[in-house]
Subunit: 227 residues, 2 copies
């Protein structure tokens, strides 16, 4: 990790690296040892030149006629993304979404163990979700300090999102993943990513609309693809 | 909608349209009437030439020195994405995630009302979540047919994801949004989008790693940005 200088990678490339990583892990699971930039491009929905350019920031170049070595590329991307060690996260909000996220095996498995879940609702405090006991939101600073938490997850309704973000920042968190359908303001230097659960639905609706205008499909009927 | 021929829009552009839409709606809420491609590019983390190219597929071009009209652009993107009418969705899985999604105001508000929630667990059937009564998964075909549902949401654990997808396709659904941490196989012609809740965390961890290697911040301490 410290054996070479870190280069600045463009934000758009950083956003695509986790997508490549997911595809590569699926290839590795299927015992595929090599992959070409064309294959990765097709799987990832980008063009091959962009794949090669993105991966060149990792200092890696495919071999003509052979491609990239899948497992080594997984290692390189994980190292670049900082996934070679765990990043404990704290979740604000113990409602359905907070419970779903805490119980979602994917977080811990991918290197983001849930260090704590906090809420303001006295009826939720003390309950155990996803193996973690819910604590009062006032305990946020202690949780962040004792577990060296850098990333906070906002899983509260829209009206509580700004307060949750303010408390996370005050507790020392420097990155926030916001699931609330609200825009949050943070001081300079704090990273925020927003997960919009409806965004992917909008992409699907584009395809459904294309389908209905080109195929004139009968809505709701059993379609040929299911036969 | 039917007053002009539909062009094929590149998949990467389709994926960015909902992002622009979210930014534009935020601008509209803030009473901003015009936006330049440079502003949109900065907000969206892409370059301005790409914004202009993406929007040109909608048949829209900004006016030099004025930019794009925010509300008209919202209208155009919504029309292109098929958001000028509702797309009812059906959710498979009434666990925490299904409950969170059903109760998440964002779906209905964005044109994706929850037409039904189904589960296999007898203890969940009959309960009401997000205003919708949970029904048995065997009722999927009736729900899909009666409400003309085109989009299904998989909100079950990884082990049940393929079965859920098979049932949705058999019931007549043609697009699937998969929240399960598992790859699902579908017949040709069925659209699948996967939501990986850990993907955004991986982007944040990149920035946290960059921060720790460049700033040598002390993990967990109250950082300057919060002062």
């Amino acid at each position: 990790m410290a054996d070479r200088p870190r280069r600045r990678i463009p934000e758009a490339t950083v956003s695509r690296l986790p997508v490549y990583l997911r595809l590569l892990n699926e290839l590795a699971d299927a015992e595929t040892h090599h992959v070409s930039s064309e294959q990765l491009a097709e799987l990832g929905g980008v063009n091959a030149a962009k794949v090669r350019k993105d991966l060149s920031y990792l200092g890696t170049y495919g071999v003509r006629g052979v491609g990239y070595e899948v497992r080594y590329l997984v290692y390189q991307i994980e190292r670049e993304l900082g996934l070679n060690h765990d990043w404990p996260v704290v979740i604000v909000g113990a409602g359905n979404l907070g419970q779903a996220l805490s119980g979602y095996g994917g977080f811990g498995q991918k290197g983001f163990p849930v260090a704590g879940v906090v809420d303001v609702d006295p009826s939720k405090i003390g309950s155990v979700i996803g193996g973690v006991r819910v604590r009062h939101i006032d305990e946020l600073p202690q949780i962040v300090a004792s577990r060296s938490v850098a990333i906070g997850v906002v899983a509260v309704p829209a009206t509580g999102a700004q307060d949750a973000a303010d408390r996370l920042v005050k507790a020392g968190v420097t990155s926030i993943l916001n699931f609330a359908p609200a825009v949050i303001a943070v001081p300079r230097g704090i990273n925020v990513r927003k997960v919009d659960l409806a965004l992917e639905l909008q992409i699907l609706s584009y395809h459904e609309q294309s389908r209905s205008t080109t195929l004139r499909a009968v809505p709701g009927s059993g379609k040929s693809a299911s036969a």
